[in-house]
Amino acid sequence: MQSKEQTQGKGLRITLGILIAAAVVLLAVSIFNWNARMQYARRLESMVTQSYYELVDQMDNVYVNMGKLMIASTPETNITLLSDLSRQADQAAENLTRMPASHPAIADTLKFVNQVSDFCRSLTLQAAHGLPLTQQNLDTLGQLRITCAAVQERVNGMTPEEVASGSLQAQDWYEEPLASDGGDSTTQTSVEYPAMIYDGPFSDGLEQRSAQGLPPEEVNAEEALLMARSYLSDRNLGEAQVEPVNEGRIPGYLITAGEPGSQLMVYIARQGGKLLWMMQETAGAVETSLSEQQCLDMAVTQLGAMGFDPVTETWTQSYDGTLVINFAAVQDGTTLYPDLIKVKVRESDGSIVALDATGYWMNHTERELSAPIISQEEAQAVLSSQLQVQSSRYCVVPTDGGDELPCWEFRATFGEDTYMIYIHAMTGAEVDIFLLVPVEGGIMVM
């Protein structure tokens, strides 16, 4: 009896021991995991906090530099201040996107900062061409500076903890005032700044552009379907579905035909019933029985049959048994780079499986092409003496802000690299330089 009790006591102690050991292991694992978690959280928080403090500094610098710019009197100071401004604002935008804030919360602040950077970059270019800041430029800068002060005040008023928690709303940052509604309490403290129209990719003017190449008369859904059928005469559209698209850049009709897996989508613009884009689902075809030149020729023939004005190819890329060809419209031997048509041709039979003529219809009009002031020889003399020129042509190139410049295009090599260089045909200025990077199946223009 005695010994049995002893054995039982021993068993109990062992059981308890195991239990305690298990509990200790569990506790240790939990503590380890918790520690690791806290470490990750702190690392993330410090990254956000770093971005926040940098943002504060950059906004301060933007404000200060804008003030200096108002009274700077030499072109050298202007260029230094403007390029610094553009860089600081660009970095501020980058840090802003690192905030753990939702898109609606920071969208307006981000737009403002991006536009400041973009606007200052375009003014830097203007100054680099020897043009002084105009009174209008200074007025715009003055207004931007007022908004900048408002943004700066908001950003300075935050605590790093608030920022890291990601709980800040649009009204905590900076919100653009609503256009006409008025009376919205959340926007009362906002500061307005003028619509920014300048030569840069974030210019407000770009959003307001309409399609220049489309005729004014409108087509209805039935006519759009008929247009689609005539554009794609060799293809059976069958039981096509037509959906009107009333919003977006170019209103029109989205026509869908075919079964999933081989679906064909065609977009016909409401204005003029023109083909804006089309796309056919193609499983990766591997057969490439046609040469690049054969594909090019067949594409040109098909584009002509569709009623597009004469085009010339600019660059190609081949992948998945298809060849993507970029065409630009040509007027009197001048390549019109803004009027782009992209075509995807199946390399097995040369048929067009996808087409995008958005650039073409946005820009294609009869241009008033004046004779170049700078001759081809004079333009070539501007080029770096290091370059071996291979070919040249006269062309119209688009700027970031949607303007067009008449240019001499030179294709030239330096060592192993091939470049495209654009010289302004009226002023002789070096407008743009592209490096052609060979990639699998084609060339990437960078």
Binding site: Q8, I18, V245, Y267, G284, K344, A354
Partner: protein
């Protein structure tokens, strides 16, 4: 003494069971690598796994992101049927069998192509695959186009990576599906989008009305509908 004996006899199975449970739970947890899913795990990945198990008929419980006992049973059943060790831990092997991505390390199977542009194609393809696989091809190109439209917009970050990884912008980034390896269709769609095709009509947003809880997104003007996605500006 007799009473103690009886008490011991009665509690013994319970105690042993406890030890068993603790060892079963604690030991695998201690062994599980970071990122593995096991009894007690919580979060989006568990939710994804539960959804998959439910779709395949292994699991009947709630898809709540909590790895509980029902989930454990389902995972073990899955492991049994697929010839895996029935430890209830969703590690690399089990996850691969489920088609689940555990780690957030970026895969580098981009085909060895170099240059930032090739990286752009791959990154965009990852986003398209994670966000829009199963959608019509045109819808996948449109998702890629929305990302590129955002890059061009002043209201969004100015790089493809910036747009894709912007806080809260895409659910696929939040729940880790962005790290799945894209298929050929997604890569093709990414190339077409980068080459300028935009079936979205210039949209900056898209959403699936069946899955969206954000009321803000409904305030945007819808341009077009492709597959299950509404494309808006």
């Amino acid at each position: 003494m007799k009473r103690l004996h009886r008490l011991w006899e009665r509690t013994m199975p319970a105690v042993l069971l406890w030890i068993l449970v603790i060892t079963l739970v604690a030991a695998p947890i201690a062994m599980a690598a970071a990122g593995d899913l096991y009894y007690g795990s919580r979060g989006e990945k568990v939710r994804q796994m539960q959804q998959k198990l439910k779709n395949w008929g292994y699991y009947n419980g709630a898809v709540d992101g909590v790895y509980g006992s029902e989930t454990l049973v389902a995972v073990k059943l899955f492991q049994k049927r697929n010839g895996l060790t029935q430890d209830g831990i969703v590690g690399a092997k089990t996850a691969a069998m489920m088609g689940l991505s555990l780690t957030s390390s970026t895969s580098s199977s981009s085909g060895g192509a170099s240059g930032s542009s090739q990286n752009d194609v791959y990154l965009l393809a990852k986003a398209i695959y994670a966000e829009a696989r199963g959608e019509p091809y045109t819808g996948q190109v449109a998702v890629g186009a929305v990302i590129l439209n955002r890059v061009k917009s002043a209201k969004f970050p100015n790089t493809i990576a910036g747009v894709i990884y912007q806080a809260g912008a895409f659910t696929a980034v939040t729940d880790g599906q962005i790290n799945l390896t894209p298929n050929d269709e997604a890569l093709r769609a990414a190339r077409d989008a980068l080459n300028g095709w935009d079936p979205s009509g210039g949209a900056l947003y898209y959403y699936n009305p069946a899955k969206t809880t954000s009321s803000w997104i409904y305030s945007r003007t819808v341009i077009t509908v492709i597959g299950r996605h509404y494309f808006a500006i």
